[in-house]
Symmetry: C2
Subunit: 290 residues, 2 copies
């Protein structure tokens, strides 16, 4: 399982199914490690894509495949049925999205792939409301390979027609697509998943360490967890990445980032994730909670 640079988590994705949706005019902002293969899949599914690419080489590659290149983020919105943003952080989303929304046609749909705060999505929805632009939070799990295979896991927060239109478009690269409830719910589900992943990772690494201290090899414990009640996707990933030591080296950085993001979103929402955050911070991987 490949762990991509600045993305969230590896997903346990089902195989992709044939994609059939009406071709749309799509604006795209954020053609990075994940966004670039998204655009490839959108073009492959027959959509028209207008793209703002900060890096010229990305624009060249995608332009050669048929993407229309524009020289600012708001310019992607011109005539678009939908705009997709795949931005790294909540700060980037909050900075870029308002001017994009201002340029979008009445009745279009805005899809954000950023694992950000529900608060930012709500502020964007307020800006979008007067012109009936639907705003959908669409955080994902997976990596660039999953996007190219059409098997990215995408969570969608939204209702009715807006949800249906976002669903039809992201299926160019996503399967499964998981509707989680009203706008903002996908970010909440992603938050809960991430803090569970972090805490189960820590507990499993702790059990491996404790096992070593009592003469149980990591392999013996992992063979048991594979078929026993204490097993988890986190335990599977530890095994697939080559064991606790390799996993800690490769995942610690992401885990810290995720836990910190969970902590701040939970505080923002005023919910108590106490035991989950304690378990996430209390293990072999050093997670500093501010």
């Amino acid at each position: 399982v490949a762990y991509a640079g600045d993305v969230d988590h590896i997903a346990v994705a089902a195989p992709s199914q044939p994609v059939s949706s009406t071709p749309c005019r799509i604006g795209f902002v954020g053609a990075g490690q994940i966004g670039e293969p998204m655009v490839r899949r959108l073009l492959g599914a027959g959509h028209q894509v207008r793209l703002y690419a900060r890096r010229p080489e990305v624009g060249e590659r995608l332009g050669a495949l048929g993407a229309g290149l524009v020289d600012s983020a708001p310019a992607v919105a011109d005539g678009a049925d939908a705009v997709i943003t795949c931005l790294f952080s909540d700060e980037q989303l909050a900075a870029v999205a308002p001017e994009v929304l201002a340029a979008m046609p009445t009745g279009s749909v805005f899809v954000s792939h950023t694992t950000g705060t529900p608060g930012t999505i709500e502020r964007l929805a307020e800006l979008a409301w007067a012109r009936q632009i639907g705003v959908v939070d669409a955080p994902f799990s997976g990596n660039a390979e999953g996007v190219l295979a059409g098997s990215l896991t995408v969570y969608l927060g939204g209702n009715g027609d807006v949800l249906a239109r976002a669903d039809a478009i992201v299926r160019a690269y996503a399967d499964p697509v998981l509707p989680t409830g009203p706008r903002g719910s996908a970010l909440r589900v992603k938050l809960l998943n991430n803090v569970l992943f972090a805490s189960i990772s820590q507990l499993t690494l702790g059990a491996i360490e404790a096992g070593r201290g009592m003469g149980v090899t990591e392999d013996a414990l992992q063979d048991a967890l594979r078929v026993s009640s204490g097993g988890s996707h986190a335990a599977d990933y530890i095994r697939e990445l080559g064991g606790a030591e390799a996993y800690t080296g490769r995942v610690a950085h992401f885990l810290r980032k995720d836990v910190e993001a969970c902590r701040s979103v939970a505080a923002d929402l005023g919910v108590n994730l106490g035991p989950l955050l304690r378990a996430a911070a209390d293990g072999p991987i050093d997670v500093h909670l501010s």
Copy 2:
């Protein structure tokens, strides 16, 4: 965690795979909810079974299938190649096993299915050593239906010829059979699995509760966990048992017992399960740690 049900009326299933082991003379003590179907499967695989059954109706049922009935636990050992005990607690094992071992032939094998302490197994091994009786710890995961289907998960602690002989016999009702390392290691692996199961259960129940507090339905979260990095066998069981509330009602009792057992075994072994035990105690299910 064994969710044993009423097995009387369930027919003996054919072995999932052809069980080919030389027929042995097996002594059996502890024909309860799990032990009774074990005896059925041993008889079905062609073994001779000598049985001490405290409850006359169990003796009648198994006698009708060909088990030889004796009137004391040590009497099952007469001429046995192997003795299997399936006793409820470490205390029962410590009380019954010494006189059984004393009656076993030189060079035979003693298999204990109790999820007890490594200390008790070591004391039994000391008693068994002089007459080259092999002692194998064989805790299991599963229920009576799994036994009857030949699909009980059994962990085996032991080496060499003793392990091979125990493996060949328990395969009458077990698949997978997981060798975990030297004698005592199966109990350690089971301990680590159980404390992981308890703590992951608590974290997942906590995430479901937190989700409810922020407008995420249990179904939406569970749909996500099924295919996302935060998923686990515990989350699967919560779903299969009908949700967090039903799960808490049915599993709380077992979880408390498991966590208390883990705590005392860890203390016995002098190992630190601190974060794991804290996470196991720190959730919606009330687990009192003494």
